[in-house]
Amino acid sequence: MEELSKTKAQLDAEFSELYRSHLRDVYSYSYYRVGNHHDAEDLTEQTFLQAYRHFERAQRESDGRPLRPWLIRIAHNLAANHYRYRLRRPQAPLEESAPVAALHSTEELVAGRDELARVLDGVKRLPDDRREALIMRFSLGMDNREIARALGRSDGATKVLIHRAIKQLEEIVALAEEHG
């Protein structure tokens, strides 16, 4: 009943707090999904605008659980739309916007950090859903339950997804070491 009687000013204040707390998470996730700062800014903005429109309902339905997975789920869906749009109207090959490598300077990768380079390369070869789960885990520090809510999967399926992602990455890296 208290939730229902919240004033607009209260809702706005709570949304501002949510925004301040999770701007970096949404931006990081967006950046790793779309691969460049320009699109990441757009995606972050769209995520928060969409979140604002549905904030009251999300609060009611969350039963007091944190709203970060909900925000990341919005960004996740918008990023998927972004990719579909890019695939229909390609402007630049998706390979060119490799987001992960872009964050690491050539010097960093060359200066005795072969292993990091192999992991970077391995991450790019993972299926999308496995890479997305790893971004949530390692960039945003989300636990299995949060990732499950963001991806719309069960806790068990998410645990398996992350386990398989790491396992596959280990195999790719090991193979690269053998051949390197």
Partner: protein, 104 residues
């Protein structure tokens, strides 16, 4: 499989592969300004809509009908009460007559 990556060997590397990315300084202000303008616009629209709606005579029909309907319902209720009260008094009189009649 390389043993070097077993049991969390890869996980510290993954944390380095995916460092959090700081948003540009102006993004925060830009998004907040946009949200504020949406919020203000929504509030303004609502107030404006209510006032504008009452200036348009076409929108007077519903309130007028509601007023007429409410008045008619109220009047009906008053009449019904009066009628019931009247019948009640009449019934009491009839009873009295009957009692009187049976006594005689």
């Amino acid at each position: 499989m390389s043993s070097g990556h077993e049991a969390g060997g890869l996980e510290p590397l993954l944390a380095r592969v995916f460092p959090p990315v700081e948003p540009p300084a102006d993004l925060s202000t830009r998004v907040m300004d946009k949200l504020q303008s949406i919020s203000d616009h929504a509030a303004g629209e609502l107030e404006g809509w209510e006032l504008a709606a009452m200036r348009d005579p076409r929108n007077w029909v519903r309130p007028a009908l509601a007023l007429v309907g409410g008045t008619a319902a109220g009047a009906g209720l008053v009449l019904l009460r009066l009628h019931q009260r009247h019948r009640g008094r009449g019934g009491a009189d009839d009873g009295a007559t009957q009692v009187d009649g049976s006594e005689h």
